[in-house]
Symmetry: C2
Subunit: 449 residues, 2 copies
C-alpha cells in the first residue's frame, strides 16, 4: 500500500495562492499524516508492506529515524519510505517560518546528507547482536555494542547514538518517485522501489534504462531496483461494460479539483484557457511541450487531441498515469506490454472509485494474471518483511549488496551479508562512501518531478 503525501495545499489553479478549488472538491485536501495510520493497519494485516511518503526537508533526521524505526518495529518490518524533498511553496511557508523552499538541486544535496545521517543511525549505531535481553545477568543491551555516529556535515550535526534498537529491516525499503536529473541520480543510488507514472510504457522506458544503467555504474545490480508503474484498470466482463463504467465514473470526478491537482503537480495554471481549446496551440510553452510529449508517447489516447476537459477527465479517472479500460484479457495484455516495452517490474494500482476498482481487480483481473502465470498465489514470505516480499528473497530484511545503507550495517562478526563476508566495522569505520554523480544523463521529458 502506497500512501502519497504533501505538506501543503495545491493553490496554483486560478491562483496564485488559491486553495478554493482544492478545498471545495477535497483534492488532496485535507490530508492527514500518513505514518500515524500504519501501526493500526499493520495490526490488522500480516503481509502487506506500507510505502509512506515523508519529506526530508522539514524534520530533523534524528527524529524521523526514530519514527521510522518505531513503525518498522510495530509492523514487523513492513515499512517503506518514499523519500521526497517537497515541492510545494505552501508547505515551505508553514514549515520554515515563512521562508520559501530551497532550490531544487539544493534540496537534493540536503537530502543526500540526510540519507547519510539516517543510514548511520539505523545501521551503524547498534551492532546487530547488541540487544541481549539477558534477565539473569541483568543486561538488556550490551553497552559496548552501541556507539555514537558523530556525524558532522554541511547541513547536519548528529552525534547519536540512535535511540531505537535495530528494527527488523533496520533501513525501511527506500522508495522514490521524482524523475528530474537530480531525482534520477538520487534514485539510482538509493531507491529500491521507484514509482513511475505515464500514459504509455514508451514514456518511461528510457528513464528506467537510464536509472538502471546509473545504478550499475554505482555498483548495484540493475534488478535490485523495482519499478512500479501507476496503472488504473477499469474492468468489465465485456468491453462495453468496461466502457460504460468509465463513462459512469467520470461524472464523480470534480473538474476544478482535477485542474487544482494538475496545477499542484506541474506548477501550471490552466485557469486562463477555455474548456475545449486544443492545448497544443495555447500561448504557453510549458503546456505546449507537455501536450506534445503526451501525444508523442501516447498518440492513440484521445485521438491525439487534448483539451483542458480531456486532460481533467484523465486526471479524474486514475490520475495522470495509465488508465486501461477493458476486459481482464485486454487489461492483462496491456500490463504485459508495460513490462515488455517499459521494463517495469510491477504496478501501483490506482483507483477510479473506491472500493470498486480494487474489488474488480481482485475478482476479474487477478485470476487472469494468475492463469497467465505472472501473478503469485500468495506473498512470497507470508508474514515476512516488506523487503523480503518485494525482492522475493526469504531472509533479506536489510538492503541488498551494493546499496549504500548495506555497506553501513554493523554486523556481529559471525554474520554473513548477501554472499560476502562482513565484519563488525564493515562500511562504518571506513567512513560513508560518497559516490560521484554522473551528470551525463539525458533530461527526462515526460515525467513530473
Amino acid at each position: 500500500m502506497f500512501i502519497a503525501d504533501v505538506l501543503g495545499g495545491y493553490d496554483v489553479y486560478g491562483g496564485p495562492k488559491n486553495l478554493t478549488p482544492a478545498i471545495k472538491s477535497g483534492a488532496q485536501w485535507p490530508v492527514n499524516e500518513p505514518l500515524a495510520m500504519v501501526s493500526a493497519m499493520a495490526a490488522a494485516t500480516e503481509s502487506l508492506g506500507f510505502g509512506i511518503t515523508i519529506s526530508s526537508s522539514y524534520e530533523q533526521p534524528y527524529h524521523l529515524a526514530r519514527r521510522m524505526s518505531t513503525v518498522d518495529h510495530l509492523s514487523g518490518g513492513r515499512v517503506g519510505w518514499n523519500v521526497v524533498t517537497g515541492y510545494l511553496d505552501s508547505a515551505a511557508r508553514n514549515l520554515t517560518n515563512g521562508a520559501s523552499q530551497a532550490e531544487h538541486d539544493e534540496r537534493y544535496a540536503m537530502c543526500e546528507e540526510y540519507m547519510e545521517v539516517v543510514y548511520k543511525l539505523w545501521n551503524s549505531s547498534w551492532r546487530s547482536d547488541a540487544v541481549k535481553l539477558d534477565r539473569k545477568a541483568g543486561i538488556y543491551t550490551d553497552p559496548t555494542l552501541v556507539r555514537e555516529i558523530n556525524h558532522e556535515g554541511k547541513y547536519f550535526n548528529v552525534p547519536g547514538p540512535h535511540f531505537c534498537q535495530p528494527s527488523p529491516q533496520r533501513t525501511p525499503v527506500i522508495m522514490q518517485a521524482g524523475t528530474s536529473r537530480a531525482g534520477k541520480a538520487f534514485a539510482a543510488k538509493h531507491a529500491e522501489g521507484i514509482f513511475v507514472s505515464a500514459h504509455s510504457p514508451a514514456a518511461v522506458a528510457k528513464s528506467i534504462a537510464d536509472i538502471r544503467d546509473q545504478a550499475v555504474k554505482l555498483g548495484r545490480d540493475a534488478s535490485n531496483i523495482k519499478f512500479l508503474a501507476k496503472f488504473c484498470p477499469i474492468l468489465g466482463r465485456t468491453q462495453e461494460e468496461a466502457e460504460e463504467k468509465y463513462a459512469d465514473y467520470v461524472q464523480y470526478g470534480d473538474y476544478e479539483g482535477a485542474l487544482a491537482l494538475f496545477g499542484g503537480w506541474t506548477g501550471v495554471d490552466m485557469a486562463p484557457y477555455k474548456d475545449d481549446e486544443e492545448l497544443r496551440y495555447v500561448d504557453s510553452n510549458a503546456i505546449k511541450s507537455y501536450i506534445e510529449g503526451l501525444i508523442k508517447v501516447a498518440p492513440d489516447v484521445n485521438g491525439g487531441k487534448w483539451t483542458k476537459k480531456t486532460l481533467a477527465e484523465h486526471i479524474m479517472v486514475g490520475g495522470l498515469g495509465a488508465t486501461c479500460v477493458g476486459t481482464p484479457d485486454v487489461v492483462a495484455d496491456e500490463m504485459e506490454r508495460w513490462v515488455r516495452e517499459g521494463d517495469v517490474d510491477g504496478f501501483n494500482i490506482a483507483y477510479a472509485i473506491m472500493p470498486a476498482t480494487f474489488q474488480d481487480t481482485i475478482e476479474l483481473l487477478v485470476p487472469e494474471l494468475q492463469r497467465r502465470g505472472i501473478f503469485w498465489d500468495d506473498f512470497h514470505v507470508p508474514g515476512g518483511t516488506y523487503r523480503e516480499n518485494l525482492f522475493e528473497l526469504k531472509g533479506q530484511h536489510e538492503p541488498l549488496l551494493g546499496h549504500p545503507a548495506e555497506r553501513m550495517i554493523w554486523r556481529a562478526p559471525k554474520e554473513e551479508a548477501g554472499g560476502t563476508s562482513a565484519n563488525g566495522t564493515n562500511g562504518y569505520t571506513n567512513g560513508y562512501h560518497h559516490e560521484e554523480e554522473d551528470e551525463s544523463l539525458d533530461p527526462m521529458s515526460m515525467q513530473l518531478s
Copy 2:
C-alpha cells in the same frame, strides 16, 4: 494510559556522557516514538484515553499540529498531549545540529508561542461546520469556512491554514508535568491534566493550591484542572503478602539503572558516593537539600534515613512517586488521604512489575474503591472522547470555558459553547489573548522540573 517520553539517553550517572548504565539496564533506553503506537492501541480499545509526551522544542508546530489532529481523528478523540520543553542535553545535541538546549525560561517562552500557533491551527482555521461532505453538490468542504491563521511571532511564522479538518476534540487534552516556576505558570494557563509525583501528599499540596489559585486568576475554574498523582500500589490479601511482594520485586530492579534514571531526572551524579553513606551528610548541596526535602514531607519513609541504596530501591519499585505496600484497605485509605490532604483528583498508576501490578490493581484494589463509592463502574461516556471522560461531561469534546484554546474556537453561528453564546469569530479576530505571568509564586521545593 500515560506514555512518558524523552528524546535522548540518561547519561549523567558516572558521566558526563556516560550512557553505559542506562543502555545496559534498559533504563529509558531504547525508547520508541510513542505517538506511532496510538492508532493501533485506539483500534483495540473503545474508551481509553492516551496521554502522549511530546516536546515542543524540536518539531515545527505546523507538523505537530497535523500529527496530533490525525491521531485524534483515528482514535475518535482520545488523544492527550503532555507538553514538555525537553530537558536533556543529549536530546538537544541530536536535534539542533550540535547546539546545546535553550535556557529553561527561554524554552518556556518558545513553548508559549508554540501553543498559540497550534491552538490557532486546531481551532481558528476551520469553522466547526466547514466540512459538508455534500456529494450531490460536489462539496467536500465549504472553502469560505477555511482560512489562514497568518501567525507572525518572535519564534514562528505560520500562515496556515491547518491541513486537517477539525478532529473530535480539535485540541487534544493538554497535560503537563513540570513544576518549576515557569512550569507552574504554564500549567495554570494551559493544563487540563497535571501529573504530580512525590512521596507524600504534603509534598504536592502547596503547589496544587498554587496552580489552582493562579488558574482562577486567569479566569479558569479551579476544578477544570485535574491533578493526577503517580502512585504505585503493591497489593496483597494480607499485609505480609504485600510486603513479601515488595521484597521480591526489589531484586528485579537494576541498581545502576535506577541511579542513571535519577541522574537524568535531576542532573545529579550519584556515582561518587558509597552505597550506605547517609545522603543528607554528603558534600553536595543539591543532594542534601533534596534529601532534607524528602525527609520533611515524608518523615516515615525509611525511618528518615536515605542512602544511595535506599534511594535506588525506591526508584526500582514504582519510581520517585508514592509507593504504597499493603492490603486493599490500607492502599485505599492512603489514596483517600492523597485526595484529602493533597487535593489530587486522581492517580497515575505506576507499576513495579508488568503486568502483575495492574492485575493486582484490577482484582484487589478496584473492588475496594468501588465498595467505598469512589471509583466508577465504567467510563462516564463509553466510547466517548478523552475530555468527556476526564471531566465527566458528556458532549464536552473541546477545552472548557476559560481555557485559552476555547476562546479561539471558530464555531458555526448557531452553536453554543459551554453556557456562553459564541460567535463565528470568537477569540480569533480579537487576537490571541496573552496573559501576564504572575511571578510572585513560591518556588517549588520537592518537585522535579
